[in-house]
């Protein structure tokens, strides 16, 4: 029999593929990067599309090749690869089509994912959760993380569905989200949240200790930024900040009796 019984992946199998895509980086390696994760995620779809073990083996073999993308935006490629595998199984496309699709999209979507999720959305929500925790305690952390995950999972599921339904047209759908513009705003907002956190920490220091502690906090926040901007390494600068704060307290107590 040249073609499978059905060239459509059932909805439950698609859901299973999406669930498995959450393990995309479980066995990240330098040679194939996310290849094992991708093969693991698409395997239920291949099983549904290729009842013939030899064809399933061939299909899985082509997905064991190199693959690397952002773990969130990779959902779009997984959906699109299943879309193309359906066409391969139906005999409409050549077996190389899913690989060409993956090879074309993995770089651009990795750049979009890294630029939006890793260097903008997540740091913004991290800074928001930190400021929220300073002002309102742990409930703020729960609220912020819930919002972040609602956004992140909605985008991940949406990208998977768009990739599956539209195949190559997923590029236009992602471009329509204007993620780079949004990312820049989130980064600036995140920087402002860090500044507000520094102000709250300085104010709390005043409550706990003496007025001199505010000066130490403001200096650490300001000089620390300038040091990092000039290329200082993080760990040594942590020790320098602690040493400076502790030293200032010891010096103040020696010369004035208290800070």
């Amino acid at each position: 029999m040249p073609f499978p019984f059905s060239a459509k992946v059932p909805a439950a199998t698609l859901a299973r593929c999406f669930w498995r895509s959450l393990f995309l980086q479980a066995a990240w390696n330098r040679r194939g990067m996310q290849n094992l994760g991708f093969a693991y995620a698409i395997d239920p779809a291949l099983r549904a599309l290729y009842p013939d073990p030899a064809r399933r083996r061939d299909a899985l073999g082509r997905h064991l090749g190199f693959f690397n993308c952002h773990p969130y935006t990779a959902a779009a490629i997984l959906g699109g690869a299943i879309h193309h595998e359906e066409r391969v199984a139906a005999g409409v496309e050549a077996s190389g089509a899913p690989l060409a699709y993956k090879a074309t999209l993995q770089g651009p979507l990795a750049a979009i994912g890294d630029g939006f999720f890793w260097t903008a959305l997540r740091p913004f929500f991290g800074a928001l959760a930190a400021l929220g925790a300073l002002l309102f305690g742990w409930p703020a952390v729960v609220v912020v993380l819930t919002i972040y995950n609602a956004i992140h999972l909605a985008l991940r599921i949406g990208l998977f569905r768009t990739g599956y339904r539209q195949g190559d047209a997923v590029v236009g759908a992602i471009a329509g989200l204007c993620l780079p513009v949004l990312a820049e705003r989130l980064r600036l907002g995140g920087a402002a949240l860090c500044g507000l956190s520094a102000a709250v920490i300085a104010a709390r220091a005043d409550l706990l200790m003496r007025a001199g502690a505010v000066l130490v906090a403001v200096l650490a926040a300001g000089l620390g930024y300038l040091a990092l901007a000039r290329g200082a390494r993080l760990l040594p600068t942590i020790y320098a900040a602690i040493l400076a704060g502790t030293g200032a307290a010891l010096a103040a107590s020696r010369f004035h009796g208290s800070l």
Binding site: W118, A217, Y225, T246
Partner: protein, 235 residues
């Protein structure tokens, strides 16, 4: 605590990535698991800001912020509990203990990065194994190999985080017992560290005008605090 750190090490890269292994959540969860949510949250805020830029971009490996966080939070909560048990209860205790915990356990984040490199090399063997299974005709086993990659990151968190915290719990109470007068100075060290962590967070934002927004927000924030203090003073 080992279980929490192990699961966080897995969530951080191998599964989901829903910010559950970020310091702001992890330190709070470690505090909760050790019976002191407030203590965990106390270190969670500066650690989150400090390691805001610890992201996995392409093949570049960031420091293992989850390992460092779990050890620092565990050490802070346990050492503070131990010292309170000895009768110490002044306000400077928690920040002083947290300062010493950071000094002792922060390098674990770098050690964790080395462990991540080791895991990547280990996973190359899994790749070979998957190819072997596929060549033998066992497609399901070849696909399943991916999950074996979760074991090593789990083990790293499970072993190293409690180990780091254990060393700190031995050293910190001993150090504070020897020099109880150093508590206020160490507490100010914590203030400096926490403020520096804000700078680290702002720097991680990688935006051209980030410095303007950061310093502007510090100014606005301090003015608001001052205005609030003046208003409450009048009333």
């Amino acid at each position: 605590m080992g279980l929490v750190a192990g699961l966080a090490s897995v969530e951080r890269k191998g599964f989901l990535q829903a910010m559950l292994s970020r310091p702001i959540s992890l330190a709070t969860i470690v505090g909760l698991s050790l019976g002191d949510v407030a203590g965990g949250l106390y270190v969670a805020v500066p650690l989150e800001l400090l390691w805001l830029g610890a992201v996995n971009l392409g093949a570049a490996l960031p420091v293992h912020e989850a390992l460092g966080t779990a050890a620092i939070a565990g050490a802070t909560v346990l050492a503070a509990q131990s010292l309170r048990g000895m009768g110490l209860s002044e306000p400077a205790l928690l920040p002083a203990v947290a300062t010493l915990a950071v000094i002792l356990c922060a390098p674990l984040a770098l050690l964790g990065r080395r462990a991540d490199r080791l895991a990547e090399r280990w996973n190359e063997r899994l790749y070979v194994r998957a190819e072997r299974e596929l060549a033998a005709g066992n497609a399901a086993a070849a696909a399943r190999v991916n999950l074996y990659g979760l074991a090593l990151p789990f083990a790293v968190g499970f072993v190293l985080a409690p180990l780091g915290a254990w060393v700190a719990v031995l050293v910190v109470p001993l150090a504070i017992e020897q020099a109880p007068g150093a508590l206020p100075a160490l507490a100010l060290g914590w203030v400096a560290f926490a403020a520096f962590a804000c700078a680290s967070g702002a720097k991680a934002m990688r935006a051209v005008r980030a410095s303007t927004f950061y310093f502007g927000a510090i100014g606005v924030g301090l003015c608001l605090v001052l205005a609030t203090a003046l208003a409450s003073g009048r009333s």
